[in-house]
Symmetry: C2
DNA sequence: TGGCCGAGTGTTACAGTGTATCATCACCAA
DNA sequence: TTGGTGATGATACACTGTAACACTCGGCCA
């Protein structure tokens, strides 16, 4: 099914893969991949669009099991800390990391304002130039966010088709 | 100090300049630069550090004049829309634009996690590479945010001095 | 076996951020 | 004067995130 190679792979099929990667990573680092954390990751990984913490809480709640937002936040803290999930600052929402670059550096998020999906890519060239710019300004970076809003290729294709 | 040339100038002395630029811009575009909008801009421009909307509301309130947060938000909407103020997504806060590039494109925000000041710069090279990356991904951008967190030159200097 | 301890979770309450809605006011034009 | 438009005031509310405390569970050790 999902055999496309290089790029991200959130959405539906990507969920199991994300879980598998998370399990592996937690084994390696001796971390607890608990049910809640797995469920939260699964909820996010099953979407191409970002989910808010409260959306996740609602999605995981069912008769007999109520998941409070605060629990979701804690799981999200854990997941983001280890690069399994990314926070989209401009949306106050979260997506699962599709890559395996678990360090979370150099990411660029492409947010489609039409369909709402978020692609993530990296660009060594941008990273390189940004590093130069920062060095010139005498600034020592520790983290950064780069989020671009616009129209994704799929939506562009659809709109020109007509 | 850091002698990069054409940069920002918020903070203290920059307030009157920011106001003057805003007045000019509003005259040009036939916009209303009302008291509230001026006060909000002045409050922000008097700081090197970003202010939250509620901070601004409090700063503008005095006995006999209570400024509600919602009013501040409306003024901020106006100011950001015309590039006089920038929103810092990672902080939920606002700073006055120090440049005159009122289109707001290509900005990079340098947020010092030590002293909290925010520098803003531009980098055509970064912009250029980012444009390439987006084109390659088939993504048509409409806006973007680029915020770097780290330690500013001034703080680095201070810490190595000791 | 029993007690301790730490990590994770449940629960409640609350703080911070942002928006919807409606009423009012000032100003300009017909 | 009347009516429309844009800005503001005011209240309420929705959404986002955190603090504090209690509880459980498992491992560890006396």
């Amino acid at each position: 099914m999902h055999d496309h190679a290089a790029t991200h792979d959130h959405g539906c099929g990507g969920a199991e893969e994300a879980i598998a990667r998370a399990e592996r990573l937690c084994r390696e680092r001796d971390l607890q991949f608990t049910r809640l954390r797995r469920d939260v990751l699964a909820a996010i990984a099953g979407q191409t669009r970002p989910m808010g913490a409260y959306d996740i809480a609602e999605a995981l709640s069912e008769p007999g099991r109520r998941v409070a937002a605060v629990s979701v936040y804690r799981a999200l803290d854990f997941l983001t800390e280890h690069g399994l999930v990314h926070r989209i600052a401009s949306r106050n929402a979260f997506i699962s990391c599709g890559h395996s670059h678990t360090d979370g550096a150099g990411l660029v998020f492409l947010i489609c304002r039409n369909c709402g999906t978020i692609d993530e890519t990296t660009s060594p060239e941008v990273e390189d130039q940004l590093g130069r710019t920062l060095a010139k300004a005498g600034f020592k970076p520790t983290s950064r966010i780069l989020e671009v809003e616009g129209e994704c290729g799929a939506c562009l294709g659809r709109s020109t088709e007509d």
